[in-house]
């Protein structure tokens, strides 16, 4: 399936929006304007954008603690997410969720999750609902490399395979689970994880949005045809710390679990840089790219203004929406 210029520019815009949002959120977190930790999706943008482009507007997704990028890629308005990070009343969850619990049902995101591997079981439930509707939509289930060792992941894949559910399992292998190198706790490539369940697997370069999209597109076709789940293993690299606190810690402790050189190497594999090169080579004029970049900067700045100007939630609403009626 060919992508139109509008789609390509849309993907470029989303990637930039993720980068802009995350860089700004990081700064605000360091300044203590945002309370708590923020887990940044910087350098991993291509995965969320590629997959979300493939599952389309009707698709749904389950996210992780590193979930801002997924929300943006799915088309959620960033000003509400920024307000949520600030804990403001206008946020996605009325300021009561914070960075790790963003939900925007209006665009089909079923929730970020502070529990590692928590979303993998939700994805099965959502996909089962889709199946009952005649495979109406595909569900993208994002998880990190660390979450692959949660038993729930295998239980989820087994059920999805047996019931032929329309799920795309997307492993974002950023090489570290908090501070543990992935290679230290696995004995075979993550791509082998689909074997026990007979799930077809794609290993892709997570820094190439088009490669991610191509694999996800095939997986979506399979899912919507009722043939069952697929597994996509996207290799990427997390140049930030596990979260903003870890980033500060890393710098203070002189890169205690990896060396600075490795991070520099990782940042050179920038997915946005690669995609911009591609767009330039395919003949998109520099002014058009510049226009996208400017509009993104303006949107991010506006989101911060919106968040800062918003009121805090009233203490009385603390228990509202905590229990389902």
């Amino acid at each position: 399936m060919l992508l139109s210029k509008e789609q390509l520019l849309g993907m470029y815009r989303k990637m930039l929006l993720i980068r802009g949002f995350e860089s700004t959120a990081a700064q605000l977190s360091y300044n203590q304007e945002i309370k708590g930790n923020v887990h940044l999706y910087i350098n991993e943008e291509a995965i969320a954008v590629g997959v979300c482009e493939a599952i389309g507007k009707s698709g749904k997704l389950t996210s992780t603690h590193r979930g801002h990028g997924h929300q943006i890629a799915k088309g959620s308005d960033i000003k509400y997410m920024m307000a949520e990070l600030f804990g403001k009343k206008t946020g996605n969850c009325m300021g009561k969720g914070g960075s790790m619990h963003i939900v925007d049902a209006s665009v089909g995101t079923l929730g970020a999750n502070g529990i590692v591997g928590g979303g993998v079981v939700h994805a099965v439930g959502a996909a089962y609902a889709s199946k009952l509707d005649g495979n109406a939509y595909a569900v993208a289930c994002f998880l990190g490399d660390g979450a692959t060792n949660q038993g729930a992941f295998q239980e989820s894949m087994n059920l999805a395979a047996i019931y032929k559910l329309p799920v795309l399992y997307v492993i974002e292998n950023n090489e570290y689970a908090v501070t543990t190198r992935t290679a230290e706790y696995i004995n075979a490539p993550l791509a082998f994880r689909g074997i026990p369940f007979g799930i077809p697997t794609y290993t892709v370069d997570g820094m190439d949005v088009l490669e991610v999209y191509a694999a996800a597109q095939k997986a979506v076709e399979r899912a919507l045809a009722g043939d069952g789940p697929s597994l996509i293993v996207a290799k990427t690299y997390r140049i930030e710390g596990h979260n903003t606190t870890y980033t500060m810690l890393e710098k203070r402790l002189n890169w205690y679990y990896r060396d600075e050189e490795e991070i520099v190497r990782g940042s050179l594999r920038c997915p946005i840089h690669f995609f911009k090169e591609y767009l330039t080579q395919t003949g998109v004029p520099a002014e058009e790219l510049k226009a996208v970049e400017d509009s993104v900067s303006a949107e991010v700045a506006a989101s911060v203004d919106f968040a800062k100007a918003s009121p805090d939630p009233e203490p009385e609403v603390a228990l509202m929406h905590v229990y389902a009626d």
């Binding site: 949660q150 038993g151 992941f153 087994n158 047996i162 075979a188 082998f192 369940f197």
Partner: protein, 348 residues
């Protein structure tokens, strides 16, 4: 003909000069006796259960004797193992005293756990290195991985064998434990007895691949699939698995295809499975097949009947012993509940 000894702990199988494994008559007779022990123990237990002499449920290993006899022959005296809710066969194959096992089923003071464990919790660290049967499906998986980690840290040369059924392979702990064991190269062997039914669910309704053992591939763990009605085939695979694990190459997984003659528990009418299942099972009866094989190499029918009679007498005696034993004193109910010290615990 040159004989090369296999590296099994009980030296009973040989490789001839063409590389084929030859199982000695003595070894096959041992299998035959163990298999009858398991069957007879279970038949006696079922009889007592239906007469109302036993409280609670029992899960019978009838139909799985060949796999258990073959597998446990490959396990050395220093090795450890975990068992399941269907665990009588494992204990008997490991050499459990039928009297103590039966007394435990009866809830008597003389049982392996002083009558406080019952059928699903037979454990014995003194002679069998039996880390315990377990009422929780799949619970032996992390326990066996933990025990293997102890062996790796202590360098005691022991391998831990985790036994479980087909249903337990869909527990997340299967994957968590196997991944850790593979990443840390632990001396662990997993022995899956695939009897095709997780309680009443046919395994292929809940599993997408023909063999369960292929699950090991996800973690780079080698595996073998064997006919669980042939003790010799199971033994050979287990010897290979044990050698692999003992030499520090990490875990190994063996899947034996077996039949469960009874329902899930004693008295389960098993209406959920087709009649053809039991027909196929009986046509492949491990004890019968091994008996024929033994007769083909010169063992007489009388000798086989003699083995059976001896075993039955032993089990009759076990039931008598259990019946005559006393119930535990209610005052001891909290004894042995908490561990103050345990040599398998390295964290202290």
């Amino acid at each position: 003909m040159q004989f090369k000894l296999l590296k099994g702990v009980r030296i009973l199988a040989y490789k001839n000069n063409t590389g084929d494994t030859v199982h000695s008559k003595e070894m096959m007779l041992n299998f035959y006796r163990t298999m009858w022990k398991i069957r007879s123990f279970e038949e006696h237990a079922a009889d007592c259960f239906t007469k109302g002499m036993l409280a609670g449920n029992i899960h019978l290993s009838i139909g799985q004797e060949a796999a258990e006899a073959g597998a446990f022959a490959a396990i050395g005296p220093q090795d450890y193992f975990t068992s399941t809710h269907r665990g009588h066969g494992h204990a008997i194959a490991r050499g459990a005293d039928a009297k103590l096992a039966m007394a435990e089923l009866f809830g008597k003071k003389t049982g392996y756990c002083k009558g406080k464990g019952g059928s699903m919790h037979i454990a014995d660290m003194e002679k069998m290195n039996h880390l315990g049967a377990n009422g929780i499906v799949g619970a032996g998986q992390p326990i066996s991985a933990g025990s293997a980690l102890v062996s790796k840290i202590k360098k005691d040369g022991a391998v831990t064998v985790g036994c479980f059924g087909d249903g337990a392979t869909n527990e997340g702990s299967f994957h968590e434990s196997l991944n850790m064991a593979a990443a840390w190269q632990l001396p662990l062997v997993w022995f899956i007895e695939n009897n095709c039914y997780g309680v009443s669910t046919e395994i292929h309704r809940v599993t997408n691949t023909p063999d369960l053992a292929t699950r090991a591939a996800a973690y780079g763990v080698p595996y073998a699939v064997v006919d669980g009605t042939d003790p010799c085939e199971v033994y050979d695979a287990m010897v290979k698995a044990m050698d692999h694990a003992r030499s520090g190459k990490g875990p190994y997984l063996v899947e034996a295809k077996v039949y469960r003659y009874q329902g899930h528990y004693c008295g389960d009418p098993a209406v959920y499975r087709p009649a053809s299942y039991l027909e196929e099972a009986l046509a492949n009866d491990g004890i019968e097949k091994l008996g024929k094989r033994l007769m083909a190499i010169g063992v007489t029918e009388e000798e086989l009947a003699h083995i059976k009679a001896e075993v039955v007498a032993e089990m009759d005696e076990a039931v008598r012993f259990a019946e005559e034993s006393e119930y535990p004193d209610p005052a001891t109910v909290l004894d042995d509940m908490y561990v103050s010290d345990n040599e398998r615990c390295v964290a202290r």
